[in-house]
Amino acid sequence: MAKRILFLLNRAPYGSSYALEAIESILVAGVFDQEVSVLFTGAGLYQLLSEQDGGAIGGRTVGKMLGALPEYGVTELFACRPSAERLGLTDANLCLPVTWLDYAEQRRLIGRQDVVTG
């Protein structure tokens, strides 16, 4: 039976390998037909910036990998509104459409899950 799995992405895209490797696991969760959601918080919002080019530093482009999520059946993308306000980011800066959540809405999203992981 499919499980509701939420991935919390809270790390900047290029400071470490965490973002890239986390996205790889999210794509596989999509392939395995789970009910997958993703919540971007804090510096993790930078993963969604448009105009990224990981090739410039010899790596893959995190934003482009995120762009593959819908093809893998992962369409429930959420982002922390207070984080965006703190970082000065809006929809216009992002490469994918997200649903903005305040803290109470994030608590409810987390509460609905079978699994919450990073």
Partner: protein, 130 residues
């Protein structure tokens, strides 16, 4: 209860590996079953068979091996994360024609599907972040 565990942090560098080991040992002691421990990100370095623990610190690698060999817990290492960090079992050493197998045989090198299976097959999935 059936529990799966994810370990994201490297032993010693992150407290996560030690905390996860303690959690696993306690869960077994309390009668729970560990379905799988999945090592991801820098967590894969727990498999390093050539590490030497400092004399005045707990040997975390030995702790994980004990969990696998004495308690029959599956210790699964993500293949993509392992290869780029130099963690190879004998099969991967042969495939990539490297000098040595660096992962202890108590650990098995597996694909990411096993991470998702670890989530779906367990009552609880507990992540120890880096």
């Amino acid at each position: 209860m059936v529990i799966s565990i994810a370990v994201h942090g490297a032993p010693y560098a992150s407290a996560g590996s030690r905390t996860a080991l303690r959690f696993a040992e306690s869960a077994l002691r309390l009668g729970h079953r560990i379905h799988r421990v999945f090592f991801y990100h820098d967590g894969v370095l727990a498999a390093a068979g050539q590490g030497v623990a400092p004399q005045d610190e707990e040997d975390l690698h030995a702790g994980w091996v004990r969990l696998g060999e004495s308690h029959g817990v599956e210790l699964a290492v993500c293949i993509a994360n392992a290869l780029k960090r130099g963690m190879l079992d004998e099969a991967e050493r042969d495939r990539y024609e490297k000098d040595a197998a660096t992962a202890h045989p108590a650990f098995t090198i597996v694909g990411l599907g096993q991470l998702i299976e670890a989530m779906t097959a367990a009552d609880r999935f507990v992540t120890f972040a880096a």
